[in-house]
Amino acid sequence: MVDPLGVELLPDCPTRRALLRTAGAGLAAGSSSLLAGCGGGSKAKKKLVSDPAVRQGDIAVLNKVLALEHTAIAAYTAGIPLLSGHARAAAAEFLGHELAHAEKLAATIRGAGGKPRPPQANYALGNPSDEAQVLRLLNVTESSLVNAYLIAIPKLAPGWLRAVAAGILANEGQHISVLQAVQGHPPAPAAFVTAVE
């Protein structure tokens, strides 16, 4: 199964029942095990069709995080020319990730009949003039994204959509990890990735 954001989900699995079966296994988190636990066939397809769709409230939540993804795209685009070496390579890679996040969010909003928030003409990003300042800007931007996704996830109704948002949140956490390491800081400074730096 590919969810509306294009991220692979397994048939019938983003359901409480599937998770409880997994819990019953003791663990069992691999794709094949979840497939085995979830089963297949017509019953699974019926449940898949009846999975909750994206609602109007979800569209508003998604548009809020999309706005911040646009900000991140602007920050990376503006900051990359001031970076060098590994920091520059990482930022360029992460710009591609943020573009992918924005595309997926916009596609989901459109798929649900909504209108994705367009990027602004300008963003107030300050005036970073050297590598350290750019890295600080990118850290702050990523932290804002983390905060936005943590606010969004409990508000999203469909389980599959929460899972996709969590996958993006985790990717933002990875960005922070690399940006921290580039600056000589611990790559995973806290056991819980929150907006607090």
Binding site: L5, V7, E8, C13, P14, T15, R16, R17, L19, L20, R21, T22, A23, G24, A25, G26, L27, A28, A29, G30, S31, S33, L34, A36, H86, A89, E93, E98, A100, H101, V146, Y149, L150, I153, P154, G159, W160, R162, A163, V164, A166, G167, I168, L169, A170, N171, E172, G173, Q174, H175, S177, V178, A181, P187, A188, A190, A191, F192, V193, T194
Partner: protein, 193 residues
């Protein structure tokens, strides 16, 4: 069964059930967030055991030891948080970290990780094993987040999932320094890469 007794049964089954393919009857119906949290607690206990065993091997470099030690502390913090989040209906017990090699290996097999780290004698394969474990467990978290309903359990799971993704990234960075495409291989953490 309803209410507290049903939840307690789900927790007990999540702690002890031996097989995914033969789930106990108590797990066949939706019973609340408790059993999902227990499943997360159980995978966290495997991570604790994996990092403890990594430190005990004596094969890790100073840099790897430092990283693994800090990650072990964070896995213990996850265990603490998840343990506190599980409602303790009817005195249900929670899963412990697997103490013996055979128990640890059994949990790895349940995660479909077929190679036991006890066979590994060098740092790089061991770090790759830890990456594989973190990736599989991110997959588990993703499904948990799809299933959980309470705001606080959802937030806790999301914050931990992101931290596990950071662990995988940092371990990959140790394996391939400066290779950001390997450290962060995808824009979406799906637990498959």
């Amino acid at each position: 069964m309803r209410g507290g007794a049903a939840a307690a049964a789900a927790i007990a089954a999540a702690v002890t059930a031996p097989s995914l393919l033969d789930p106990p009857g108590a797990l066949a119906a939706p019973l609340g967030d408790a059993a999902v949290l227990v499943s997360l607690l159980r995978v966290e206990q495997v991570l604790v055991a994996a990092y403890e065993r990594a430190l005990a091997t004596g094969i890790l470099s100073a840099a790897a030891q430092s990283l693994v030690r800090s990650f072990l502390d964070q896995e213990r913090a996850h265990v603490h948080a998840l343990s506190g989040a599980v409602p303790r209906g009817a005195g249900a017990s929670l899963p412990d970290s697997p103490q013996t090699t055979s128990a640890f290996d059994a949990e790895l097999r349940a995660l479909r990780i077929r190679r036991s780290p006890t066979e590994l004698r060098n740092e790089r394969p061991y770090l790759r094993f830890l990456v594989e474990l973190e990736v599989v467990i991110a997959h588990h978290y993703r499904f948990a987040i799809a299933s959980l309903e309470g705001e606080k359990p959802l937030l806790t799971a999301a914050e931990i999932m992101a931290n596990e993704a950071q662990h995988a990234t940092s371990l990959r960075e140790l394996l391939s320094p400066g290779n950001v495409k390997r450290a962060v291989p995808s824009a979406f953490v799906a637990g498959t890469t």
